[in-house]
């Protein structure tokens, strides 16, 4: 690990001042010299690997007094960026009204990591692509723009099939983000240019420019999330298929929420993960199910629609079928829940 300066920011303005970008520098936030650190479970991992090399770390944990609360209000669920994963997964309002959120957290990582990791850091987690993590590989457009992509013809059994390009086929492996994208959440930020609200679906950018991962500016801090309430949030579920039963990233995951009235799906919300380059809202699949009863046949047809645009490489074609089955199972599982 390279040496760095450690700043303990006591307040939001102090954190923003400490991470203020250098004038004129044009770098994506992940390459900025000053980086925020919350739980540190990813930042320190990537610094030890030399994949990230910040000159300054800005410790934002003191902000949890102002940005570490969980509040269920009439306009939805408010989650501070410094809420720990283990707090949200066990919160009674989330368990009752937003089960899909609780499940994405319960199935992620390990209890120790969930005690440490913040929700803000969680959604910004970077890919587990082995060529990205190990700087010994020369080719990785995400790490070194323009260097190529070693995964295209390398070991790509766990790489994405949706939203990929010939620049990058890395999978987004986080779980919580699938619930946020499905439920149409918003991200609240504060940065050098003030505060703003971003649709969660717009937070992560496309694979044609893999070096840039989000629309955040350098030095822009996530302060929290709002998940709008809706008639679909209670009838919601997460299915995560992985190589072992626990403590593993997903191979194919699906977060779904359903509004079913009179035996017909009025509204379906579908988020897919691990099979996709970024947290993936499948509007195609949602449209395929709207207005229909939920049966095994309509669930399978919906799942086919979700993967119609899939682009496999040599080792990951199996993910298309696995992804379809995962989504169909999640839809049937959610449909059996009480609204």
């Amino acid at each position: 690990m390279r040496p760095f300066n450690l700043d303990h920011a006591a307040t939001l303005p102090a954190a923003l001042a400490a991470a203020r970008p250098v004038a004129g520098a044009r770098v994506p936030p992940t390459a900025a010299p000053a980086q925020f650190i919350a739980g540190g479970t990813q930042m320190l991992d990537l610094m030890k690997l030399d994949t990230m090399q910040p000159a300054t770390l800005v410790d934002i944990n003191a902000l949890s007094a102002a940005h570490g609360r969980i509040e269920a209000k009439s306009d939805g669920l408010h989650l501070g960026a410094l809420v720990r994963m283990s707090e949200a997964e066990a919160h009674p309002d989330i368990l009752r009204d937003y089960p899909v959120i609780a499940q994405t957290l319960q199935m992620a990582a390990s209890p120790q990591i969930r005690n440490m990791a913040s929700l803000g850091g969680n959604v910004l987690q970077r890919t587990r692509c082995c060529y990205f993590r190990d700087p010994g590989w020369a080719q990785c457009n995400k790490r070194e723009p323009g260097s190529g992509c070693a995964a295209l013809d390398g070991v790509n059994r766990k790489h994405a099939v949706l939203g990929v390009s010939d620049q990058c086929i890395a999978a987004y492996s986080g779980d919580f983000a699938q619930a946020l994208v499905a439920l149409g959440a918003e991200v609240q930020t504060a940065g050098p240019n003030g505060v703003r609200t971003i649709a969660f679906e717009k937070l992560h950018t496309a694979s044609d420019n893999p070096h840039t991962e989000t629309v955040l500016a350098p030095g822009e801090l996530i302060t929290g999330f709002r998940v709008p309430s809706g008639p679909w949030t209670r009838r919601s579920a997460y299915v995560k298929i992985r190589d072992r039963e626990s403590y593993a990233y997903g191979l194919a995951t699906a977060a779904v929420a359903l509004d079913i009235q009179g035996g017909v799906v009025r509204e379906a919300r579908i988020g897919l993960g691990a099979v996709s380059y970024r947290p993936w809202r499948s509007h195609e699949a949602e449209a395929a199910l709207r207005g229909k009863p939920l049966t095994e046949d309509t669930a399978n047809a919906t799942a086919r629609a979700a993967f119609a645009g899939a682009k496999p490489r040599q080792d990951n074609a199996y993910l298309i079928d696995l992804g379809r089955r995962t989504l169909a199972r999640a839809l049937l599982q959610a449909s059996r829940l009480e609204a």
Partner: protein
């Protein structure tokens, strides 16, 4: 760590440089983006770190890169906690921070705020084994023993947090602690034995 002699400094810039007011409100139009006002400090100077480990206070002047695991093992001299992977994957380094199971290999010592309990702090002050330690012995819940300090610390958190109601719940809670000797069934048996002695399921 390629450069072991380098030891950075803790800057107070974050506390002082509170000049950018970011109030809730509309996007501030084109606020000028300027370089930080304070000059960069030499990141190789040692930082002062205060840690409370097993009830004892320690004041260290150490490289800012030092993890809680390395601070406890090499600077404080408590070598019970083990370094398996150093990347958050195995759980051998598990300690309690503020009573919560935490990976000390992914924690910077200079960021730790709460009291720390290591495997050395689990037993009674008179040396009486904790019911969980006794249960690991009774149930033969280890072979080589390398993962055991982390297993026991996690197991204590498992019972204290109310995650030991069933074998399935125990296995799920203990999933972050790998055992290459595969003592898993005996570890579950040990936790089942100890939870009665600890007065909670």
């Amino acid at each position: 760590m390629p450069d072991q002699t380098a030891s950075p400094q803790l800057s107070r810039r974050g506390l002082l440089g509170a000049s950018t007011a970011v109030a809730a409100g509309p996007l501030m139009a084109a606020a000028p983006v300027v370089a930080p006002a304070t000059p960069p400090v030499d990141p190789r100077r040692p930082v002062d770190v205060a840690l409370t480990v097993n009830g004892q206070q320690h004041h260290l002047a150490i490289d800012v890169r030092t993890t809680l695991l390395d601070a406890v093992r090499t600077h404080i001299g408590l070598t019970g906690s083990k370094k398996g992977c150093d990347h958050g994957q195995c759980g051998a380094c598990t300690m309690l921070v503020d009573g919560k199971a935490t990976l000390s290999c992914l924690s910077l010592a200079a960021m730790v705020r709460g009291p720390v309990t290591t495997i050395e702090g689990i037993a009674g002050t008179d040396g009486t084994l904790h019911p969980m330690q006794q249960a690991f012995i009774d149930q033969d819940a280890f072979q080589c023993g390398y993962c055991t300090p982390g297993q026991i610390v996690s197991a204590v958190a498992c019972v204290q947090g109310g995650h030991a109601a069933s074998d399935a719940a125990i296995r799920e809670y203990m999933s972050g602690n790998l055992c290459r000797c595969a003592a898993y069934p005996h570890i579950v048996a040990a936790i089942n034995q100890a939870k009665d002695g600890m007065g909670r399921a």
